[in-house]
């Protein structure tokens, strides 16, 4: 499940809740693609309540990385649980997306270009 809230003109916060599996990924893809279509290129992802993320779920974020980048945008993930962070690290995603411990840092990261 996702909760979306607007942060600023071009920034958005998506809170992920529970498990992000292949089914959830389809929904997430719809949300992000709509967000981008609406002109939100800076997306903070709150993972405080994210219990599990499948490869399909990661794939959704990965598929939009270059598109966000071309609009000077990015994903910033924050508040990752240990198991989720481990998944990110093993895949090497920390190299391509920003991961921060909390929301304040995430917001700062979001507006750095």
């Amino acid at each position: 499940m996702e909760i979306i809230s607007k942060l600023s003109e071009d920034a958005l916060k998506i809170s992920l809740i529970g498990e992000l599996d292949a089914n959830g990924a389809i929904n997430l893809d719809r949300i992000i693609s709509k967000a981008i279509a609406d002109g939100y290129y800076k997306i903070a992802v709150d993972c405080r309540q994210l219990e599990y993320i499948s490869s399909a779920g990661l794939g959704v974020f990965i598929s939009y990385i270059s598109e966000l980048k071309s609009h000077n945008g990015k994903f910033v993930f924050y508040h990752l649980r240990e198991n989720v962070e481990s998944v990110f690290n093993i895949l090497g995603l920390q190299k391509v997306v920003a991961i921060t411990p909390d929301f304040i840092q995430a917001k700062n990261q979001l507006h750095e270009v």
């Binding site: 599996d21 292949a22 893809d29 219990e51 599990y52 499948s54 490869s55 399909a56 990661l58 794939g59 959704v60 990965i62 598929s63 990385i65 270059s66 198991n83 998944v87 690290n89 093993i90 895949l91 090497g92 995603l93 190299k95 391509v96």
Partner: protein, 691 residues
């Protein structure tokens, strides 16, 4: 029906006792004959119970309760009543003849015995029928009131015969019965529910009833001195009331029934139509072919509605080019013109919420469809959609300006709904069949995928290699492979495509070709990942990625060279240090970023190997296995412990052990593909192949 048995049994006994009591009292009166005998009270009782029974029966029919047969009960009552009446008349007639002697008195005794028996039968049957009817009534209070009224009316003539006259109660009771009777007389909707045979028998009984009551009324109005069964003046009120009510009821009912007969004929035709539709529905249920179902839909509805044309359209919302699986009685061109108009004016025909169909009268006056010169002058449209999202409509065309009545239109709408259900059923059956075919394909795919795994493990003298895997779905997204580079080196690959199931498996098949052709050139790990990433970027959809762990095991140099492309880290048991290492270096999954920026993330590592070392390659399905009821993952710690505790086992057994451990942890709730490869370095043998 409300079960009469549940209704208090004491009332049955009460009704029975009253009946038998009144019968006994009557017998008492009759045995002490004093001529001339007024026996009018008996026919009156018969008449009264007869007419009340009929009322109750009607009431019961009105409230729609079944349970026993109207005509059967009426027949039983009337036969018993007529016999009893005849037996009553006979002794009275004999007593009035001059030649009453010993012989006739003997006959009289026999007749009286028979008479008593029939009276018992008659009153018991009457009481039971009445009770059945009463207990079928709506509420307990209605039932009690009716039973009371019935019992009182039965008891009254007995009291009168005994000389007890209660005129006030008498009048009150008969007024109540009269009002109830009159209110019932005009409620004739029960006639509609009669079928053709029941209609005829009911008409017969009603006419017989009117005849009987007419005779009794005539006797009351025109008393004959010589009448052996004169009506007692004291009872004439009673007889008049019951006679009029019965006559009124039976006459009015039979008149209604007579007038109803032509309507009934139409109803019968409708019944036949309905029967056709029901038959068609049953046929439709058996059908396993959507096309046949739609042809049957047009044919059956056309037959039942006597429509001049019928067709089924599959509506194409994109444009006017629809499909027509079934056309009857109209040319395709005409249909196309109609559909074109319907498509061009989407808001012209709106269904209201109550009716799920549309009937257009006087087509030639319609602003949209009137422009076309058609032979049809009215048209019914039944739109429906199936679960697969397709939209359809059934159209019926009539040459009459008002070709379909409301009633039949509704019947057809039910039939359309029914067909829709059957069609959905057919669609789901087809889906199941398609799924079965797909499953077969998947089984073949799985077989093919198994063949992807190398059977002969190379360099088995120097290393003991075993691989095992479990797929979450029929075919998985995990992939591992070997490639013998030379007589002392082997390349081992473990990969995991994102997602699972068929799409992942298809990518695995694709990657196998790519990886194998890349491996043929004996690349070093870094080079391999770089090339593979380029290939993945070209082949994969956006958002798909693959994690790869590529290792080169050099048994001459006793060294392991590897690069990790975002895959789960290699676990290395160092036999010399007696320690387990998790080789988690930097590395990024393949397909995430392009070309050179990916190459920059690459890192190749070297690790010294020793005899007895164990290398374990695996996919995330192993470490991310979870307990079915919690979020605790199997994790790296458990995996390392399991390897450490079972390091004495050979590769194959160690694999099995690990998988069993994972399965018992997750209680076999497999969520992701799991693959595992164990390589045990054997003691460095000094013989051949070593240079």
């Amino acid at each position: 029906m409300k079960n009469p048995g549940t209704y208090s049994l004491s009332l049955t006994w009460l009704a029975g006792l009253i009946t038998l009591g009144s019968f006994g009292l009557l017998m008492l009166l009759m045995t002490g004959y004093r001529a001339p005998v007024y026996v009018s009270n008996l026919p009156a009782i018969i008449e009264a119970s007869f007419y009340l029974s009929t009322f109750f029966l009607v009431r019961q029919l009105l409230t729609g309760l079944g349970g026993f047969q109207l005509s059967e009960s009426l027949l039983r009552l009337s036969v018993l009543g007529l016999i009893t009446l005849g037996l009553l008349l006979l002794p009275s007639a004999l007593l009035h003849t001059e030649a009453a002697n010993a012989a006739t008195s003997r006959w009289l005794l026999i007749i009286k015995g028979l008479q008593s028996a029939f009276l018992v039968f008659y009153f018991t049957a009457g009481a039971l029928t009445g009770y059945q009817i009463i207990s079928g009534q709506g509420s307990a209070s209605t039932r009690k009131a009716l039973l009371f009224l019935y019992s009182c009316l039965l008891a009254l003539p007995v009291l009168q015969a005994l000389g007890i006259d209660l005129p006030l109660i008498n009048y009150a009771l008969f007024t109540t019965a009269g009002v109830a009777g009159i209110s019932l007389v005009f409620r004739v909707d029960w006639l509609v529910s009669l079928d053709s045979t029941l209609r005829k028998s009911t008409l017969f009984y009603l006419l017989a009833l009117s005849f009987l009551s007419t005779i009794i009324l005539l006797k009351t109005f025109f008393p004959d001195i010589n009448d052996p069964l004169p009506i007692h003046p004291a009872e004439s009120n009673y007889v008049l009331l019951s006679g009029f009510l019965t006559l009124g009821f039976s006459l009015i009912s039979s008149l209604f029934l007579l007038f109803h007969l032509p309507v009934a004929a139409i109803l019968d035709i409708r019944d036949v139509e309905k029967k056709h539709l029901i038959e068609a529905s049953l046929e439709a249920e058996k059908s396993h072919d959507l096309h046949a179902l739609l042809i049957a839909l047009a044919w059956q509805t056309r037959r039942s509605s006597s429509a001049d044309a019928a067709w089924v359209t599959r509506v194409n919302n994109e444009g006017p080019e629809n499909q027509y699986p079934s056309i009857e009685g109209i040319s395709l061109n005409d249909i196309k013109r109609i559909d074109y108009s319907l498509h061009a004016h989407p808001g012209h025909f709106q269904l209201d919420r109550v009716r799920d169909f549309l009937f257009i009268r006087d087509l030639e006056k319609d602003p949209v469809l009137g422009n076309h010169v058609l032979s049809l002058r009215s048209m019914a449209i039944y739109p429906f959609s199936l679960e697969d999202g397709s939209e359809w409509r059934l159209c019926l065309g009539f040459e009459a300006p008002n070709g379909l009545n409301e009633h039949l239109a509704r019947e057809i709408s039910y039939f359309v709904r029914h067909t829709r259900l059957s069609a959905n059923h057919v669609c789901s059956l087809q889906e199941v069949a398609a799924k079965a075919r797909l499953e077969k394909d998947i089984a073949i795919g799985r077989e093919m995928q198994k063949r992807l795994l190398p059977k002969d493990f190379p360099l088995s003298k120097k290393a003991d290699i075993a691989a095992a895997g479990i797929s979450a779905e029929e075919i998985g997204g995990d992939y591992y492979d070997f490639h013998v580079m030379n007589d002392h080196s082997i390349a081992v690959l473990m990969a995991d495509v994102s997602g699972k199931g068929t799409p992942a498996a298809l990518h695995v098949a694709e990657m196998k070709g790519i990886f194998q052709s890349l491996m043929l050139n004996n690349p070093e790990p870094e080079r391999f990942l770089s090339l593979a990433n380029r290939a993945v970027n070209r082949c994969f959809d956006k958002g798909m990625f693959i994690t790869v762990l590529y290792t080169v095991i050099d048994l001459a140099k006793m060294e392991l060279r590897y690069a990790r492309g975002g895959h789960c880290p290699l676990i290395h048991y160092n036999a010399r240090e007696h320690k387990i290492h998790t080789l988690q270096d930097d590395g990024l999954g393949l397909g995430i970023i392009h070309g050179e920026s990916f190459d920059k993330t690459l890192m190749s590592r070297k690790v010294k190997l020793h005899a007895g070392d164990i290398l374990v390659l695996y996919t995330d399905g192993i470490v991310e296995s979870r307990k079915p009821d919690g979020f605790e993952e199997f994790g790296y710690e458990r995996l390392r412990d399991c390897i450490y505790l079972n390091m004495e086992l050979d590769s194959k057994s160690l694999n099995k052990k690990i998988l069993r451990e994972v399965e018992s942890f997750s209680k076999s709730s497999i969520r992701d593909d799991m693959s595992l490869m164990t390589i045990k370095i054997k003691a460095n043998s000094p013989n051949k192949n070593h240079n």
